[in-house]
Symmetry: D2
Subunit: 303 residues, 4 copies
């Protein structure tokens, strides 16, 4: 049985890897993509998402979301992903047209129109998702699960405390975490162990045009290094959908600091020390070697 | 040449290990101990410090510090260290008398009276140190270095963000971090790798009365487990004084969140992304195997 | 020349008074009403707005906005306005139908479709306006002015610091204040002096069916007392549009606390002590007697 | 029966007026003065307090307190009180010697040595008092009452929200408010109505050397203007001790924001809306005319 999903994304190199798998797996029915300002600005992330859909020749609607976070000033991560977010590969300019509606409206419509519950996958800052859940609470009962790449229980990648996606829009993250929808969260504690090693990446290069494309992107990515292995954070969300047994989850209370020097920091009550009610399945472990094997096998299937 | 030091402590099992080394090394001249509420309450930490001084028959002054944090309500860690903080070993009741002055006053006096600069070692919540630096800024030029066990750049041990010593008194931590004195900080990212393994501990048991005492304490400690190794957090500060080359430090900007759900979380700008001026040497790596060897050798010398 | 306006409202008794004037003044062209959760919940505020449009037989579109604030839990003010918000008068049940779109979308469309710039009047919590300005920044250049009832420079009406509209959704207030659109703000420091006295109200009772309706509402209102005079906060925004010389404004920097015990508190740098750039015209004085006279005269014209 | 009091002060012109009354009233036994950084820096406030003691030839101990707030950077109010804090009158240089101990220690000793409970009067930032109550909780049962000038329920005098004494050290204010000692608080809502009018001040000028001194100080004070009347904030605390019936108090819950843009803002739950337990008697009204008369009469008695 296929699972209907919507992916909210800010491509971004690891987004590209996640989309490569998601768009091509028969178990996943991608209803639409939505874009958000994150790794690079909204114009770039939208163009990038269009190019990836073109690359895989997918006729899937795409909607443009928010240009900026809710309250804080936008900061990008172009020092990691390159100026355009996908600098490593020469995609043709896309003629694809985005939906007229803001991504929040488009998502709302797709969800309410779907006969089945929809799974949301959020692999950028949570601005669009926060707006969706806040403005249209009627979608909540139609959401099977919201799977997030964001946060960390083992230190951040902006400052030492906060992970990038949550730091870009901490208020959005907190709106989503307290929304009451079923949440599954992959933070840096797990995603930074979702690595491809030098030999993996060299092998991927040989996997046809998709492998070559990903190889070129990975070669320009500074989220790790070839020696220690590249961290393909966002890919965890899609792999979890297809191979959930690779991850260990803990149902726990999570929230996000919205102000002060730790803004954007995830706080998880992993030891149930503060007796707050659990609101998310938080990934706490990954079978890292099996993950890399599974991903490589998957990439080898893509043409 | 000996180094004059004052140790502010909340024994606590790892404090006991740190004190065992510090009190017996000829390179360190321990001018006084001060106690603070932390792992267990102030009455217990003071009794424990007295007992440790008795155990090693050291005629060193001891002063009692603050019974509670500056603003937040006190929470202990007796679930880790046992009700009294040193439950594992039967120390005789101590007849030792504490100084009449509050630890803050006693530290101030000791520092100002010392001909040489004094090194402060803080291995509990930073309440006393914050009061000292705030009330008596004239001591700052007499402080060679303030060496702290606290914070983390890789997740906390209370909730997933905040380390215990900083969480107990986040305002005190922030006062100390912004005080302008030379700081060296050992957070969980390093101290949780400062482990003794099962075979190490079993060996320590055979090292005479001190080894037996430490073995008994370690056997009641829940800061890790025998299989994975016990984390002797506080000991890093003393080992650093005696064997600094075991650690890698990074000079960086650090601060602490004082309010909100992330209160007590250290924020270090390790990538110099936010362009704030550096104010601390933060430990970022430890030669873990050499650390364990060095500690074992040290413990074997104690009678 | 008429001024095109959109009113975002949470009726509420003082909202009703503001709408009575706005809907009937030839200088104002009310393009639409939008409703928000505030004095009472969204269902009540929407029903109330419909009833007021019915009462004045106005064919003006009405859209329903957000059911809850962005991040904080919703608290109403039914202890001031009565359970339904307009308990004092028996309005017939309305058959009016609200627009299908969320108020944020409806406002965006109205603004972008208007040939002239539009003036927004916000007399409830700022949730809808914050969403509008955040999701659709392209409307900003089409907004002539955003006139707000909210905040205070002289103490609050929830706790002693925060005014109700800003307290209900402090994050929305801060989004609006930092949005860059031309802002004019009427806080409690001025609106609590916008009072109708006992004799005024008794006179209003005699002004035909509108006067009788307002009298009945005022009689159930606990925003002041008949002896000291009723505070008709929201009315200030509409009176300002028609008779701006009754108010003194100061162009100053304003922001809102979003977290902590002072959440929802307006902070205005009235003495330019903190050298932040001005972002709002803040009302600092009112010609209170002339205000009451003008309002009475206005009410006497309504049939 | 006389009341034993300690006054913690940052003179300051209104401090001088308060001290003039307190030092000369037979009902008050001033055990000591302590000084704090506030209106002007600690060196100035200490010199000023010495000069006032000299002026009245009082043999009362004086101790110097904290040079800076607990966490935030110190900001003075020299634009209100003049560079030295008492610029208007030429006091002779004082040869008086301050106590060797920090004010916090001196206060602690005085309180514990007193047979009777002591009343504390705090008319500057609360830094010293916070340190006292935090370091020496054993004094709490010996404190009859802590009377504070600080905060406001009707807008601030720094920005529009925060009063100066609480803004200078918001953390100290919060430590004191949550300390559990009996608190009586005079905020700007009342103290800004404690005014002396032009004719009052002109009369005071004629009251001998004390009147002439106060007149000279008032002439240099920018806390109001002669036409509208000078606000003698700090004096309320002393008048309350001697003539409590001039004030109306409400027992209520109070706290202070410590971070964010509203830092230093008092939050009082005057309507008991948030159901927190009361911890202070907060002044909510003053018999302003009687206050002025009483003060004038009092000043006329001083030689
Ligand atoms: Ca991403
Ligand atoms: Ca310790
Ligand atoms: Ca309203
Ligand atoms: Ca003062």
């Amino acid at each position: 049985m296929t699972r209907k999903i919507i992916i909210d994304t800010d491509p971004g190199i690891d987004d590209a890897a996640a989309l490569a798998v998601a768009l091509n797996d028969p178990q996943l029915d991608v209803l639409m993509l939505s874009t958000v300002a994150g790794n690079v600005n909204l114009s770039y992330t939208t163009e990038n998402a269009k190019k990836i859909l073109d690359f895989f020749a997918k006729d899937i609607p795409i909607a443009q979301g928010n240009r900026a976070p809710l309250l804080v000033e936008y900061e990008d991560a172009s020092e990691i992903h390159g100026e355009t977010g996908l600098n490593g590969y020469q995609f043709p300019v896309s003629k694809r047209v985005v939906l007229r509606e803001h991504a929040v409206i488009a998502m709302k419509n797709k969800i309410l129109q779907s006969a089945e519950k929809v799974t949301l996958v959020a692999i950028g800052p949570l601005t669009n998702l926060a707006l969706l859940l806040n403005m249209y609470p009627e979608v909540k009962t139609k959401i099977a699960e919201l799977i997030i790449m964001g946060g960390s229980t083992a230190g951040g990648n902006t400052n030492s405390a906060a992970e990038f996606n949550f730091k870009v829009d901490p208020h959005a993250a907190q709106i989503v975490l307290q929304s009451g929808v079923p949440l599954t969260i992959f933070g840096l504690n797990v995603t930074s162990r979702a690595r491809l090693k030098l030999q993996d990446i060299n092998q991927i290069k040989t996997f046809g045009r998709t492998g070559a494309m990903l190889y070129d992107l990975f070669s320009h990515y500074r989220g790790g290094d070839f020696a220690a292995g590249l961290m393909i954070h966002d890919l965890c969300t899609i792999v979890y959908l297809l191979q959930p047994e690779l991850f260990t989850l803990q149902y726990t209370h999570v929230e996000v600091a919205t102000t002060g020097p730790a803004a954007g920091t995830l706080i998880a009550d992993l030891q149930n020390r503060y007796c707050k009610s659990a609101n998310a399945n938080l990934a706490v472990d990954i079978a890292a070697a099996e993950f890399a094997d599974w991903v490589k096998a998957k990439f080898s299937e893509l043409t």
